[in-house]
Amino acid sequence: MLEKALTGSKRYWTWIFVLLGIIGVGFIAYLQQWKYGLGVTGLSRDVSWGFYIAQFTFLVGVAASAVMLVIPYYLHNHKKFGKILILGEFLAIASVTMCILFIFVDMGQPMRIMNVVLHPTPGSVMFWDSVVLSGYLFINLIVGWTTLGAERKSVPPPFWVKPLIYLSIPWAVSIHTVTAFLYAGIPGRHLWLTAIMAARFLASAFAAGPALLILLVMFVRKVSKLDAGTEAIQSLAKIVTYAMTANVFFFLLEVFTATYSGIPGHAHPLTYLFFGLDGHTALVPWMWTATVLAFLGLGLLIFPATRRNEGILPIALLSVFIAAWIDKGMGLVIGGFIPNMFERVTEYTPTATELAITVGVYAVGCLVLTVLYKVAIGVKEDTAGEAEHH
């Protein structure tokens, strides 16, 4: 089926080569990091995780969101999602690929990655994170490819795909729960030490992921004959609405506990994020932008008039996506390190090299997504065409 990705319009090939160019630039930037060390980034002794891990955390959520299509379709017979299931699964594959790459570029000694396999440590959440992420990639690759291949041949998929699909449902929830546990089990960092971390992660994931998916579906509709249908889009938009409501609600719960309890350690990270601490205010504009976008997006989604308007819907979805990206990525990860364990503030700003590598990794994800989507569109257009002939 991969041959479907080898034929395309001029626009398609231009896009592929643009992506390859960006990947090349990112790779050259990575060579700098390889040679000189992670000192080429903005990371520090105090803020030891930054942009790379922020992207990783956010993208695990996007990957998990495929489950928001699988549950309605397979558990509740919501057949409207039939045309776009594969797009969700392929988005999950691209996301997990990027997650793995972000981990790789963040490691100080990436050539020793096999140590995690050679010396398994079940007591470490990071060990489990590598297990569940690899498993999830594996499941989605097998399920996606097999179901698409079966559709191409107009036969039902083999019997063993169904149990794998059912497995993918709790597995998707687990990848994001385990990622949340990376943060929620750390004793010293007040912003992270909260029981609601996993719930917040999942809510934010199920808002941002499907939001991106709807935008991709609308784009696919523009460039091909694959039309998911307005009902599918609206269904998914309602899921985004509920998830984003939960996400915002959970965040406000955090704000309440931190401010009402009055415990300084609890409040300091949030104070830093929204008002600055000791005169350090680097993240303040970002957090308020995220707040505005969150409420804007949510407002536009809650009211059916604006949600059903396919001109306004993309704005709402983009707002939700960006708000979640800022809050979960920069806000959560950086905020956990500020103030440091000595109650001092060391700020973090990503460097150009760091951003170049990040964009390079995103380009790899886009390339994977483009190729997989081209295959899916190709197969579906073929089978739809055949169905018309019969």
């Binding site: 100080g108 000694q109 020793r112 140590n115 060990f127 010293g188 960092r189 364990m341």
Partner: protein, 273 residues
């Protein structure tokens, strides 16, 4: 026999995987390795059930007193010195004022002298270390004698331990420690040729001078401190360290987090009581 291209590719792929996988399994089984009986500790080595430190800052009065301790450690361990670069600095032991060592305990009525009194901070070698719990490769691990060790060969540089340590005791080699600072001078000021340096991409911290303990010597900071730092077996009722914490009032950093740190700071020595 006739087979189509797809079958051929499947068979070729499977044979390659089995071949390579089988070869590596056979290879790893063949390697003998040394007998465990051939290797043993140095008989001079100091042993304990739980190593700990007692730090009495009333015995540290001048800048010189603190510097002697921190230099003793950093010099014999080839720790790079990053001047004016608190982003990439590497430090195993250093001084912090009271209000930063024990955040939250200071109050508005405390004298300036107390608030700004410097303490020596370094890895607490906790009995229940958060860093050991999170390390995905056991590159940091707890020895039977209580020391939290760092295996630089195994560390993958994921820095999860740095996120987990509630005491900020760990440093990462963001830059090559064997490089030069912005003035062009080597970062490692004093080279100890009997101890390795580190390389970029690994985490490091105080390792309780395990290499000195192994030949019967005290940790360098304790030796240089003129009695301000006492190192001993907390589980031995007759050790000097244990006697101090049994008779004097001591506090530890962030005990409420449950990591059970092993550095006890003497508060209110007899001079101040």
């Amino acid at each position: 026999m006739s087979m189509n291209r797809r079958q051929f590719l499947k068979i070729a792929g499977a044979s390659t995987v089995l071949g390579l996988g089988g070869a590596s399994v056979v290879n790893s089984l063949r390697r003998g390795g040394l007998e465990a009986s051939q290797m043993s500790p140095d008989p001079r080595g100091l042993v304990a059930k739980r190593w700990g430190f007692v730090v009495d800052v009333s015995k540290l009065t001048t800048e010189e007193d603190y510097k002697r301790c921190t230099d003793a450690c950093h010099n014999i361990h080839n720790v790079p010195v990053f001047k004016n670069d608190n982003l990439h600095e590497v430090k195993w032991i250093w001084k912090e004022p009271f209000e930063n060592t024990f955040p939250g305990i200071e109050h508005e009525y405390m004298s300036h002298e107390f608030k700004e009194k410097n303490f020596l901070v370094f890895c607490n070698h906790c009995a229940k270390p958060a860093c050991v719990k999170v390390c995905p490769t056991k590159a940091t691990f707890k020895r039977k004698d209580g020391i939290v060790m760092q295996d630089m060969h195994r560390c993958i540089g994921c820095r999860f331990c740095m996120a987990a340590c509630p005491f900020g005791a760990r440093s990462f080699n963001y830059l090559d420690p064997r490089g030069n600072d912005i003035d062009g001078k080597p970062l490692i000021k004093v080279e100890n040729k009997t101890f390795p340096t580190r390389m970029i991409g690994v985490v490091e911290k105080c390792t309780a001078c395990y290499e000195r303990l192994a030949i019967g010597q005290q940790p360098a900071c304790a030796e240089a401190s003129n009695g301000a730092i006492v190192f001993g077996d907390l589980e031995d009722p007759n050790s000097e360290a244990r006697k101090i914490i049994a008779t004097k009032y001591t506090i530890r950093r962030k005990p409420e987090l449950g990591t059970q740190p092993s550095i006890y700071y003497v508060i209110g020595g007899s001079e101040h009581a």
